[in-house]
């Protein structure tokens, strides 16, 4: 126990003496939290929108006005024909355009229905999907108004009742994406910093030759490893704390669940990451190698964590792979605890998997750390 304390003291001295590392550990991640949380949003605003109005009727003009009134669309241009509109989309100056055919107003009043051309730049498929939904909503809202007008004119005709869905968004009523993203990004930062620091720390001692000096001492493997990793565990918890404070102060992210529960879970979660870092450093000889391997895993973990793309929409094999992604568990749990107020029973299945992961990972790491080669 005393020996562990000597190592911990030494590690903290080295960490806080390294003036180049301190800002990397504490300031960069928090800058990232602020920047990424504001930038990473699924909301699509400022859609560059054009139209071709071959009808030039009051109905078509009113329809366009609906778009102009929307905060999502920048109605930029009226094109004389479809050719110019398509040309503009080709050049990338507009994201979508509407093609209102001739006799739009007349046909609508006569047949009660009329097709309208909607063209969307679908290079970014998910963005195109969202734009489509926006456009359809605006057109349908407007279309209903017309129908209502018609009803007033001829009361005698029985219209079928249209079914309208009224969405209710639970846990995040205003669909504020920052509320959704901030906890997830905080997870990323805690993970990245602890993985990189722990992965590079022991390999650094390998590089400068001090690890050999340690290996000729009678120190026990477990003592050395605990002493080495504990400071990074503290740093991880510290980052979480600062991150949560920023989330509250800057983004006003709710904290519906139990803060203690979140800390308890995080303390286990960081063990998984530290085990990984140690495992990586056992199989690499230079900090550069360790960095690349850590990056390799981090990128996969991030993209398959459900943070940016829902896991439910991944192919089956990918969903199975995400079972091995620690970030996935933490992202899910931090969102559950902070946004839904989930309690211990709710997160138990995920937490127990994380605990098992921590035991396996650290077991592997201790086993693969060899004082003798």
């Amino acid at each position: 126990m005393k020996i562990i304390l000597y190592i911990i003291k030494k590690e903290f001295k080295q960490i806080f003496r390294n003036k180049g590392m301190l800002p990397i550990i504490f300031i960069l991640p928090l800058l990232q939290l602020v920047i990424l949380s504001n930038a990473a949003t699924y909301e699509i605003k400022n859609i560059q929108f054009g139209y071709v109005d071959a009808d030039n009727s009051s109905t078509s003009r009113e329809l366009i006005e609906q778009f102009e009134a929307s905060t999502y669309f920048n109605v930029s241009e009226k094109f004389p024909s479809e050719k110019e509109a398509s040309q503009a989309m080709q050049e990338g100056t507009i994201d979508a355009y509407l093609n209102i055919p001739t006799h739009f107003e007349r046909d609508l009043q006569k047949d009660k229905t009329k097709g309208i051309g909607v063209f969307i730049d679908a290079i970014d498929g998910s963005a195109a999907g969202v734009i489509n939904v926006y456009i359809t909503q605006i057109i349908q809202n407007y279309n209903k108004n017309i129908v209502a007008d018609l009803i007033q004119i001829s009361d005698t005709v029985q219209k079928p009742n249209s079914i309208e869905s009224i969405p209710l968004f639970w846990y995040n009523q205003t669909l504020n994406y920052k509320t959704f993203m901030v906890p997830g990004i905080l997870v990323l930062l805690v993970t990245m910093i602890t993985l990189f620091l722990s992965g590079m720390n022991i390999v650094r001692e390998k590089e400068i030759g001090t690890l050999e000096q340690i290996n000729v001492t009678p120190i026990r493997k477990s003592h050395f490893i605990i002493g080495k990793l504990f400071p990074f565990w503290i740093i991880g918890m510290g980052l979480l704390t600062i991150g949560l404070i920023l989330a509250k102060v800057i983004f006003n992210t709710p904290m519906l669940g139990n803060l203690g529960l979140l800390y308890a879970y995080t303390s286990v979660y960081i063990l998984v990451i530290l085990g990984m870092g140690l495992f990586i450093s056992n199989f690499t000889d230079t900090q550069q190698q360790a960095m690349f391997i850590a990056w390799f895993f981090i990128v996969i973990f991030i993209l398959m964590s459900g943070l940016f793309t829902p896991i439910e929409s991944m192919p089956k094999w990918a969903q199975i792979l995400t079972e091995f992604n620690p970030i996935k568990y933490f992202v899910e749990i931090i969102r559950m605890v902070m946004l839904k107020g989930s309690g211990f029973v709710d997160i138990f299945p995920l937490a127990i998997k994380t605990l098992a992961y921590a035991i396996v990972m650290n077991g592997l790491a201790v086993w693969s750390y060899k004082k003798t080669t």
Binding site: I7, K9, K13, E212, T217
Partner: protein
């Protein structure tokens, strides 16, 4: 079979890397209190052999005991009884002299009092009073090497292994370094030292010369010179190493 006064006993010890025998069936004994010079050209297998003896590399075959402990099974017991100074400077550059001493004393399990006592003694002996609170990185190489040697003696090991301890330091410092080695040997510590400097070989009680993984000669410097009919260890070495 092991005599009481042999602190290192090696029999047919080998280390293979694939087909290549870095160390090829070497046998020798080192007596307690002896200064044993372990010579050889670069790549002759000195460091590999030493790493097996200090318990950080497993031998492929052969037998060896260090301080009475087996190099296969009792490496951790060996480590309690030896000190080691590698050819790469292996103290922490970003810790001060004092912190390095405290750290290494601590992980060898010395008490706070012992560490404090050792630190005073060591700082005084090396004349490091002015720099105890300076980072080791700021010390000249010669001082660093002397400090590293003293740190390897902190826990009063029976044997200390020195891997090219004087590489790259000036002749005056080398001289001082050897005075420290003599002093440690005088206090009963066995010294196992590798070196490239043949004048240093003359200071050893006995030397072995390794060529291509084998020990080609082992005796006192005086007898080796007689046997090879030369005046200096340098010439002995050249005769052997050139085959």
């Amino acid at each position: 079979m092991m005599k009481d006064n042999n602190v290192i006993q090696v029999e047919n010890l080998s280390k293979l890397f694939g087909d290549f025998a870095a160390v090829n069936q070497i046998s020798f004994q080192v007596k307690a209190g002896e200064i044993f010079g372990f010579l050889g050209a670069n790549g002759a297998g000195k460091t590999t052999a030493m790493k097996m003896l200090i318990g950080i590399s497993s031998p492929t075959s052969g037998k060896a005991t260090v301080a009475g402990f087996d190099v296969y099974k009792e490496t951790e017991s060996i480590k309690k009884n030896i000190g080691y100074m590698s050819q790469k400077f292996a103290l922490y550059d970003d810790l001060t002299v004092k912190e390095n001493i405290t750290f290494f004393g601590g992980i060898y399990g010395l008490s706070k009092k012992q560490i404090e006592h050792k630190r005073r003694e060591l700082v005084e002996e090396l004349g490091l009073q002015e720099v105890t609170n300076s980072l080791v990185a700021s010390l000249p190489l010669g001082w660093k090497q002397k400090l590293a040697f003293s740190v390897s003696l902190l826990h009063e090991p029976k044997i200390v292994f020195l891997d090219e301890p004087t590489g790259g330091v000036d002749p005056i410092t080398r001289r001082q370094f050897w005075e420290m080695i003599y002093k440690a040997a005088h206090n009963g510590t066995t010294i196992f030292v590798t070196t490239h400097y043949m004048d240093e070989a003359e200071y050893c009680d006995r030397v072995s010369i390794m060529v291509d993984g084998k020990i080609e000669a082992l005796d006192t410097p005086k007898k080796l010179k007689e046997h090879y009919k030369t005046d200096t260890m340098n010439d002995v070495f050249l005769k052997l190493a050139r085959g």
